[in-house]
């Protein structure tokens, strides 16, 4: 009972915030609603017993992707009102595509056959009391340690590549040099100029 309430609560908030992502006039509001949608999706994963996926969703999507979106929205001056122009013009085709997708979903749903024993599998996602974070950890750090390390190397190479291809030393960029700031004395920093009255600087 409580699970059903939680499910409908999270699912309802998620759909509502997803609608707000698309319809909000202010793009910053859209991104904030997107974060809300991610959190509710994470809560749905927790309800399913997939707590690792829930954590990853929060860490990766909220922590990285949504913040990146926020940066893009705030840094770039994109005219979202202009992007949204012609909404009514595209509505017939867009709506038709949506309807086709919906019809296909309904057909799939009608033709769905549950495999024997799938209900039990879904009801008990944990084997022997091992939650899935622990299970993944056991696999990744033991059986797949080699490929885990290799994927670390792949990410390292990607980072090196990004730096090699984009980092350039620009001349004439002012950088903060704390040592120089601290070693500044009054003599080097202040200049006393005699100014005659009524001449200005």
């Amino acid at each position: 009972m409580i699970q059903a309430i939680a499910f409908y609560l999270f699912a309802g908030v998620m759909i509502a915030s997803a609608v707000m992502v698309v319809s909000a006039r202010n793009p910053v509001h859209s991104v904030l609603f997107l974060i809300l949608a991610f959190f509710n999706a994470a809560a749905l994963f927790v309800l399913l017993g997939a707590e690792f996926l829930a954590m990853i969703l929060v860490v990766v999507y909220v922590g990285a992707v949504a913040v990146l979106f926020l940066f893009v929205v705030m840094m770039l001056d994109i005219n979202f009102a202009l992007l949204r122009e012609g909404f009514m013009r595209y509505l017939p085709v867009g709506g038709a595509v949506g309807l086709v997708l919906l019809a296909e979903l309904v057909f799939v749903g009608m033709a769905w056959i549950d495999a024997a024993g799938s209900a039990q599998l879904r009801a008990a996602p944990m084997h022997g009391g091992v939650d899935n974070t622990r299970a993944l950890g056991r696999l990744i750090y033991t059986h797949y340690a080699l490929v885990f390390q290799a994927s670390g190397l792949v990410l390292l190479v990607a980072m090196i590549g990004a730096i090699v291809l984009t980092l350039r030393q620009r001349p004439g960029v002012k950088r903060q040099d704390i040592g120089r700031q601290l070693s500044r004395t009054r003599d080097t920093g202040v200049e006393i100029v005699k100014i005659k009255p009524r001449t200005g600087v």
Binding site: A145, A150, I160
Partner: protein
């Protein structure tokens, strides 16, 4: 579940090389841009040490890391070739990078990481480790292709390679997922068990497995730049900085060929008749494209790209022939191919007119009068690539066609001989240019010493191989035998 016992010593060369790569990266980052020469020298030493570790660690076949990683004679042979190719690639890049102001310490570091990826590919015995090795290699290569980031051609090469490489990775993953779905495992031994079980029971091989094999084959054909998946090769070879092209032409090619051989023979050996048709077609197309498309090239790097496509075609003939004989012919072919290409590229890297790098074929005209020794060495490399006896290139082709004829693939052998006759046209055209044409602009003297040393070594190997082919042939035979246990 119990943690599988790890034998880290099995992957000692890979571990050593990855740790050296990390150390070199730190060293370079701490000492700044001027550390290029020291980082390059240290990377060279690391590659050579790893090669020694590979050769001393070569022994009986063993599967480690819970079935992800295999150590065997075939892997050791191919890894030694890859490490040699990478080390020579670093030596060849020294002079060029200094003159072209590409002296950035990331260059040798990327070569080291790409080499780690190649070694992982060669040793892969699971679709997951195969994919990660391939991506580690490819990612480093994409960056290297775009290394001269201020040049439009180089960035275009990098972008083109990246987009098409991502496409081929997608095909590989699609094929791998089909194979996993139909055989129930990503492990090569388990896949082999499932596939041979189906074959023994007399039931038709599931269509999904065949589809998967074809997709994986297409993706790997892309990586070895075999026709009809070769479109990226000329553009990338032309656009990338020349030392990178030299590296592309040897090490990744050897690694991807080794991977292709292992993937087709270990898990899918039982359905060889099915994939052999595909490899047959790819081999024939590559030989034809390599022989004919190169004729119209005016850029020497594009010419080498088509030449490499042709060579991959010949190597794949050995795969169609199959069996230890065919694989041994491939191993020998790749070894000799490496030396011929290194020789050719050390001349190309030294091609300069008044300090400016040139890469038109016409710029080689009259080379025999200004640089008689270099011209002679390049002539040896070209004659060898054309497969003219008694040079090494003749023997590599001979063993390949011998394996094809023994396997009863007469059409393939005939096509191979005909295309090498046509291919000889453009190799000999370079010899004609060097010896019988008048130079419009003569190339600079003196020829850089580091290139000259590599050129001399590779040429001596190519020229005098016929005196003592025994050791290399025996090593190739032993390597091939390790792929066919029992």
């Amino acid at each position: 579940m119990n943690a599988p016992a790890f034998s880290f010593s099995a992957a000692l060369p890979e571990l050593f090389l990855s740790l050296s790569g990390l150390a070199l990266l730190l060293f370079g980052a701490l000492t700044g841009e001027k550390s290029y020469r020291r980082v390059a020298a240290l990377a060279l030493i690391a590659l050579l040490v790893a090669a020694v570790l590979v050769l001393f660690g070569a022994g009986a076949r063993s599967v480690e890391f819970g079935g992800l990683f295999v150590v065997d004679g075939f892997g050791a042979f191919m890894k030694a070739l890859v490490l040699l190719g990478a080390a020579l690639g670093i030596v060849l890049s020294l002079d060029y990078n200094r003159r072209e102001e590409l002296e950035r310490f990331e260059f040798p570091v990327l070569i080291v990481f790409a080499t780690v990826g190649m070694m992982l590919m060669i040793s892969a015995s699971d679709l997951i480790s195969l994919y990660l090795g391939l991506e580690l290699q490819s990612l480093a290569l994409y960056v290297m292709a775009a290394f001269r980031r201020d040049s439009v051609k180089s960035t275009e090469a990098g972008l083109k390679y990246f987009v098409l490489g991502a496409l081929s990775s997608g095909m590989l993953l699609y094929g791998a997922s089909l194979i996993y779905g139909f055989t129930g495992s990503t492990n090569f031994a388990a896949i082999a068990g499932a596939v041979s079980g189906v074959v023994k029971s007399g039931a038709p091989v599931p269509l999904g497995v065949l589809f998967g094999v074809v997709f994986v084959l297409a993706a790997l054909a892309f990586k070895v730049s075999a026709a009809p998946f070769h479109m990226w090769t000329p553009d990338v070879y032309e656009g990338a900085p020349t030392p990178v092209t030299a590296f592309f032409a040897v090490a990744p090619k050897v690694a991807a060929t080794a991977l292709l051989v292992r993937v087709l023979i270990e898990p899918f050996g039982a359905i060889a008749p099915q994939w052999q048709q595909v490899v047959w077609l790819v081999a024939v197309l590559s030989m034809i494209v390599g022989a004919f498309a190169a004729i119209w090239q005016t850029n020497v790097k594009r010419l080498m790209a088509y030449s490499s496509i042709g060579h991959v075609g010949y190597a794949l003939v050995g795969l169609v022939a199959g069996g230890p004989g065919g694989v041994s012919a491939i191993a020998l072919y790749m070894a000799i191919y490496l030396f011929m290409n290194i020789a050719a590229f050390s001349v190309i890297l030294g091609m300069r007119v008044q300090g400016r790098a040139v890469e038109r074929i016409g710029d080689l005209a009259g080379l025999s009068r200004t640089h008689p020794l270099v011209a002679a060495a390049l002539a040896v490399a070209m004659f060898a690539m054309a497969g003219i006896p008694p040079l090494a290139g003749f023997f590599s082709k001979f063993y390949i066609f011998d394996a094809a004829v023994r396997g009863g693939h007469y059409v393939l052998a005939v096509v191979g001989v005909l295309t090498s006759v046509f291919g000889a046209f453009y190799y000999l055209r370079i010899v004609k240019l060097m010896y019988f044409d008048e130079a419009t602009e003569t190339l600079d003297r003196p020829f850089p010493a580091s290139l000259g040393a590599v050129l001399a070594g590779a040429t001596l190997f190519t020229f005098f191989f016929f005196l003592a082919p025994g050791p290399l042939v025996r090593a190739a035979n032993a390597a091939a035998a390790s792929l066919f246990p029992g």
